[in-house]
């Protein structure tokens, strides 16, 4: 992340400031919907940031990333259903379950490349979807209502919408910092090298498989935490969270926002969700616009929003 005062960095700073100040604005505008929308944006941004780690930096086209949102969410949901409401138990379980799932799926999927890898990650995620949808005790297809949010120690109360928003935001900022440190470390460079040219990495002496696998696990774990947050936010979890098209939504956020930087996916999450809101106000059939729009971004605006900002910054440097 460059520290120069460029247009792009200014926009990033403004966005962060805006996110921090949002609840205050929402309070004065008496707009409860806005807070709910942005809580969702922040949580999904965290999921997208985790996906960018494997996709943008790792070059691993995982099309099953939404499965971790589901695993984290169901960890919370199932434990809550069985009477365990403590966040101190739920959240570590969510994290551990996601890590374990990522480890197994990663170990199997990373044996393949390219198109196979895409399809396999997609298929395993879908498997999880069907398994969970088959669990009648936990709501099956209809999903599971979560009666009580994760309980921590007072004064932390997740039912307080503003508190919950700031918790999510703190975790997003934490994730951003963590991913930033990660991609610039030895580990991060090894993963980026593997993305750039896996064969060369092995030729110079890197056992690339293990680095890619660990990257995959870290990303899945982070997304699992986002899943726990999402379940709390909606007070509900259903298999639909893991349906493969939701993984597609996450990929859209990452690509739309820009894969080349840690912060890009946040732009993407914001852009996609705000666009959804705006477009659905105009027409019920807004996806008919989103579809071709996505295609156009793929064909012409490859660096995403962040890419465009950096391009513009090239001309506006003090």
């Amino acid at each position: 992340m460059s520290r120069e005062l460029t247009l792009r960095n200014a926009v990033v700073a403004l966005m962060f400031a805006g996110l921090v100040l949002l609840p205050i604005y929402a309070h004065f505008a008496n707009d409860r919907f806005l807070l709910a929308l942005f809580t969702r944006i922040v949580i999904l941004a965290m999921a997208a940031v985790s996906l960018n780690l494997v996709l943008g930096y790792g070059g691993m086209m995982s099309f099953g990333h939404a499965v971790y949102l589901g695993i984290g969410g169901y960890a919370v949901g199932i434990l809550a259903f069985e009477g365990v409401n403590s966040g101190f138990v739920q959240w570590p379980v969510a994290i551990a379950a996601s890590a374990l799932f990522a480890l197994v799926i990663g170990a199997l999927s990373l044996r393949t490349r390219g198109v196979y890898f895409i399809m396999i990650t997609l298929a395993f995620a879908q498997m999880a979807y069907y398994v969970v949808a088959g669990l009648a005790r936990y709501g099956g297809d209809d999903g599971l209502t979560i009666q009580k949010r994760s309980q921590f120690v007072a004064p932390l109360n997740l039912s307080d919408k503003v508190q919950f928003y700031y918790l999510c935001l703190a975790l997003l900022f934490g994730s951003l910092y963590l991913v930033w440190r990660l991609v610039n470390s030895r580990f991060g460079l090894a993963v980026q090298g593997a993305r750039s040219n896996d064969m060369r990495m092995r030729a110079i002496g890197f056992p690339t498989f293990r680095y890619k696998l660990i990257c995959f696990v870290i990303a899945g774990t982070l997304c699992g935490l986002a899943g726990a947050l999402l379940a709390n936010h909606s007070d509900f979890i259903s298999p639909a969270t893991m349906y493969w098209t939701r993984s597609g939504d996450l990929i859209i956020m990452v690509v739309l926002g820009g894969m080349g930087s840690v912060v890009g996916p946040v732009f993407g999450a914001m852009a996609l969700l705000v666009l959804e809101e705006a477009l659905s106000g105009i027409t019920e059939y807004w996806q008919i616009i989103l579809g071709p729009l996505l295609l156009l971004v793929v064909l012409f605006a490859h660096g995403g929003i962040d890419g465009l900002l950096k391009l513009a910054s090239g001309k506006v440097r003090p």
Binding site: F63, Y130, G134
Partner: protein, 305 residues
């Protein structure tokens, strides 16, 4: 015993139907190196067209033929307008671009036909049962599906193995540049291959329509199965797609029928009831995982890439 035979036939029918879908997918992957997520949308469109045309013309068969033609046209149009710009690009671009197509098609269908879904009723001459074997009755329509798909599979075999076009297809699957260098009109070949894939998908969709439903999102559900089959069978290999599709069809159908009973033997009735649906769903993915561990390129990988 008759139940077992019936389930075997169901497995065969399901497997053959999946083969139609997977064959198109694997052809397009193998020859144009294109990941097409919107393949399921073509399946859906085939079903929707069939339901509409059958209602208009009052004939199931005419409706089906028209639907096939219409899906072929849509497929070729998509190839010319969208796919051509994606060739040679990163697979991620394919994934995103065709994902965008899914969104577009889902909404377009919703716009044109509404959110409710359609039905495609069977004509009376198909809506009966046949005595396949002494004492074994089987749905005439499902039997017809088996016959039609076997015929299509035979046609594909002849096309790919015995015609000049088929030779180009096979050559293209293992060496794209070479085929180009031979001076073949690649653009036309690609359009035709994609159209063929679309027609196969549409056929699968319309044949399935009377049995399942015709609704938005039906493509997304079955696409995953097609992918699993392509992975198991090996990208670019139609033979692989057939073997894998039959495997998947049998394992899934027989698994769902007999796993609950099997589980009841070793678990408590309660546990069996809970675990059965979940485990049945997992079966084909377990198969895929096993194949991956043993042979990551699939059973019959076509290309030497």
């Amino acid at each position: 015993m008759t139940l077992f035979i019936e389930q075997c036939l169901n497995g065969l029918q399901f497997g053959l139907l999946l083969f139609l879908l997977a064959a198109g997918l694997t052809l397009v992957f193998g020859i144009m190196d294109l990941v097409n997520l919107a393949h399921g949308s073509l399946y859906m469109i085939g079903a929707y067209f069939a339901a509409t045309f059958a209602a208009w013309t009052g004939s199931f068969v005419i409706g089906a033929v028209l639907a096939l033609g219409a899906t072929l046209l849509v497929g070729m149009a998509v190839e010319v307008v969208v796919m051509r710009r994606l060739y040679g690009r990163d697979h991620l671009d394919h994934v995103l671009g065709t994902f965008g197509l899914i969104l577009f098609f889902d909404e377009a269908v919703r716009l044109i036909w509404g959110a409710e879904g359609l039905t495609l009723p069977l004509p009376s001459w198909l809506n009966t049962s046949l005595e396949i074997l002494p004492g074994v009755d089987y749905s005439a329509y499902k039997f017809a599906i088996i016959v039609v798909t076997i015929a299509v599979a035979a046609f594909l075999y002849v096309l790919v193995m015995r015609t000049r076009v088929g030779m180009l297809i096979r050559a293209g699957a293992s060496n794209r540049e070479m085929v180009s260098a031979l001076g073949v009109n690649i653009k036309l070949l690609y359009t035709l291959v994609f159209g063929l894939g679309a027609a196969l998908a549409g056929l699968a969709g319309l044949m399935q329509a009377p049995i399942l439903t015709v609704q938005i999102g039906m493509g997304e559900n079955i696409l995953i199965l097609a992918f699993v089959i392509t992975v198991i069978g090996g990208i670019g290999s139609i033979r692989g797609a057939l073997v894998a599709a039959l495997l998947v069809g049998f394992i899934d159908t027989l698994g769902r029928s007999y796993l609950p009973d099997f589980l009841r033997l070793i678990l408590s009735p309660n546990a069996a009831a809970t675990a059965a649906p979940a485990l049945s769903s997992m079966l084909i993915y377990l198969l895929m995982a096993i194949v991956l561990v043993a042979k990551p390129e699939g059973l019959f990988s076509a290309s030497g890439k």
